[in-house]
Every structure is written in structure tokens, then in C-alpha cells.
Symmetry: C3
Subunit: 159 residues, 3 copies
């Protein structure tokens, strides 16, 4: 048992992998935060999509009027979907990148820029900031993931 | 060759990792099931979104009337998107958690509660159950992922 | 330090894992490409969703008319969401599969068919090809992921 435990923690002893685990966890938590922000706006704007969610507002027409879209809710939802579209590739490619033997400093640079860019992207989307604020923060995160994918393919390519 | 094979299976010998692999595969299969349920409702409700999908119903107006949204189809699609928003963080953070050396019993507790909560969430969404059924099942899965993220960051933090 | 580096590259020395890393990176890059195609259609069709994205077209009504949905944009977005729904399970289950000790030739067969099917699916969605072109390419990718999940559960099952 203790030997197995040792084996499982060996992996996490690798510094690049620890950095990956730290930033991947942080950016996934940031993505999860979007669910809470959506719920906050749905409740404060009284804008729901499922009939069963408005049952506490009464029956019939009184409840039905809360089944509507709200611009703030839709904005958070777009930000959440954009997170899925960009953070999923980062988490997947980043894992392979962390296992491809990069220098710790190079890896940290990639992870820090990506996570910083995605946090900026969320603020740019939700405030919202004038363009090209959101566009640039999106592009920086995208470029970091491309750079990691290039390193992965250069290192491991087996087609 | 056999030495390489040995190396690759070593990893899977770790019990916590085996438990993670089991529950991650199950919950990803559950998420994939949503595609089949969507297809089932699209076909039985005759509610499609792509013109090429209605070509078998004939040409012109006859086919066009099946290009419509249906409440049951939209409900399954919302459940599917909610799965993506919650199961992706579980799979990502759960992998890091499994590598962070938790006790097997603690890890199993996390994995079982999460997967159970997401299965309940699907039933609550599709039946649908009155609230707070769906909300609670969502919150339980969310809390499990937060608990794993806390363990990961406590163990590996390298910023 | 050099010992740690060795440990991290050991893993990537496994041929099945190298094959997984190659195909996972390629199919995630393919998914990321959908963002660029969406942006291309939004700009050429002048169809935006965020008011701040149309500010460069002027103020008031002149800019507002570009806040609209466009069939081509929506089509790419549906393809992108379909990628998320199918590529996420492949990347997750594929990682576990690669660690479950399959034969290299069997693993390559799975990875190549999945990635080929998803590239065909994208062409079938965007051109669009008549059905069952898109349906079949979707089903092939789906079946490959099910086959990998079966191997994973057969090898590691620990409930």
C-alpha cells in the first residue's frame, strides 16, 4: 500500500507537473465561477428558462412572465461557453505539454500568461470593456495554447 | 517493448487512479448518452435545426415545417450543456486529485458522490422533478469538485 | 533537477502515450479552429452578438443592425458545440485508454479513425453534405470512444 502511495505522489513531485496542476485547477475553478454568476443574474433579474424554476413565484401567468431571456444572463452564458471552448484545449494540451519535458520557467510563462489572459477575458466580457479588450485577451490565451501544442507535437509526434 | 508496456500499466496499478478512471469513464459515458437522448427527441418530435436533416421529409414547405425548436429537445440540450460545464471540471480536477495522493476511501467517496449527483441531476432535469431537486443535485456535484480542487492546490501549489 | 526531467520524459517515451498525445493535440487544434471560422463568418457576414463588437461600425441604429444572427455563423457554432460534446469524451477516455496498456496498433487504429471521423464531420457540417454524411461521421467517432471506454472499464474497474 505505501509503495503504491509513493508511486502516485512521485508524479506530483515533478515541478512542471505541479505548476500545471496549480494553474489548471485555478482556471477550471474560474470557469466554474461562471455558473454561480449565471445563477446570481438569473435570480436578481428574475429570468429563468425552466418552468419548474419559477414555481416559487406562484402559478400560471404570474410565474410564466419570469420565463424570459435577460441580456446580462445571456452575456455571462456566452462568457461561460467561451471558457469551455478555450479552457478545455488548454487543460488537455497543457497536460501533454507538462509531460513533454519543458523547462520549468518556460512552462510557468505559458501557464501564467494563459490564466492571466482568461481572467482578463472574463472581466472584459462581463464589465464589458470596449473592444479590442476582449478580443486581445482571447487571442493571447489562444496563442499560448497553440505554442504548447507545437511543443507537444514536436516532441512526441507519432502518427 | 514489454518493458514499455509494463511502464504504461504501472500507472493503472495505482488503486486511486483505477477508481478515478472508472468513475471518469462512467460519467463521461453518461454525458455522451445526452447526444442519443437529443437525437431520440429530435426524431420523435420531428424538430430539427439543419435543413439537410429534414430532406427525407420531402422538399420545400413540407420539410421546412420540421425546422423548429421543441421544448423537450431544448431541455435535453440544456442538460447536456450543464454536463459539459460540470463534468469537464470534475474530469480535469479529478485527474490532478487522483495524482495528489489521497486515501483510497476518501477518493472513492468523492467520485461516488459526484457521479451519483450527476445521474440524479440528469433525472431531475429530464423528468423534470420540482425544484430544489435539480438545484441540490447540481450543488452536491459542484461541492465535490471544489473539495478536490482544494486538496490539489493544498498539495501541489506552485505558482 | 535532471533526474526529475528524466522522470517526466519517461512517460512520454511510451509509444501508445505518444500516439495519444499526437492525436489528442491534433483534434483539440481542429476544435480550436472552429473559433477562427466563427470569427471569419461573423466579420464577413457582419453578424455580431455583443453591442461592443459593433462599435466600430458607428453609433446607434447603424451599429445595431449588425446585432443579428446569421445562418452560416450559427452553423459553425453548432459544429463547435458538437465538437465539445464529442471531443471532450475522446480526450478524457482516450487518456485513460492510453494508460490501460492497449497494443500500439489497436490504439493507433482507434485514434486515427476518431480523428478522421471528426475531420469528416466538420466538412459534412460546414459544406454541408447531404445526410447521412454528418450522421455517419458522428456515429463513427462516437463508436470509437465507446470502444475505448469498454477497454478502460474492463481493465481498471474499481467501483
Amino acid at each position: 500500500r505505501s509503495e503504491k502511495m509513493a508511486k502516485s505522489t512521485q508524479f506530483i513531485d515533478n515541478e512542471v507537473f505541479r505548476a500545471y496542476a496549480t494553474y489548471a485547477a485555478i482556471v477550471l475553478l474560474k470557469m466554474m465561477l461562471m455558473s454561480l454568476i449565471t445563477a446570481y443574474f438569473r435570480i436578481t433579474r428574475k429570468a429563468f428558462v425552466n418552468p419548474e424554476d419559477t414555481a416559487s413565484f406562484g402559478k400560471g401567468e404570474n410565474a410564466k412572465k419570469y420565463l424570459r431571456t435577460d441580456p446580462d444572463v445571456e452575456r455571462v452564458r456566452r462568457g461561460h461557453l467561451n471558457d469551455l471552448e478555450n479552457i478545455v484545449p488548454f487543460v488537455g494540451i497543457g497536460l501533454l505539454y507538462a509531460l513533454s519535458g519543458p523547462e520549468l520557467s518556460t512552462a510557468l510563462l505559458h501557464f501564467r500568461i494563459f490564466v492571466g489572459a482568461r481572467i482578463l477575458h472574463t472581466f472584459a466580457y462581463l464589465i464589458p470593456l470596449p473592444q479590442p479588450g476582449r478580443g486581445l485577451s482571447w487571442a493571447v490565451g489562444y496563442a499560448v495554447t497553440l505554442s504548447m501544442a507545437y511543443k507537444v507535437l514536436k516532441t512526441v509526434l507519432l502518427l
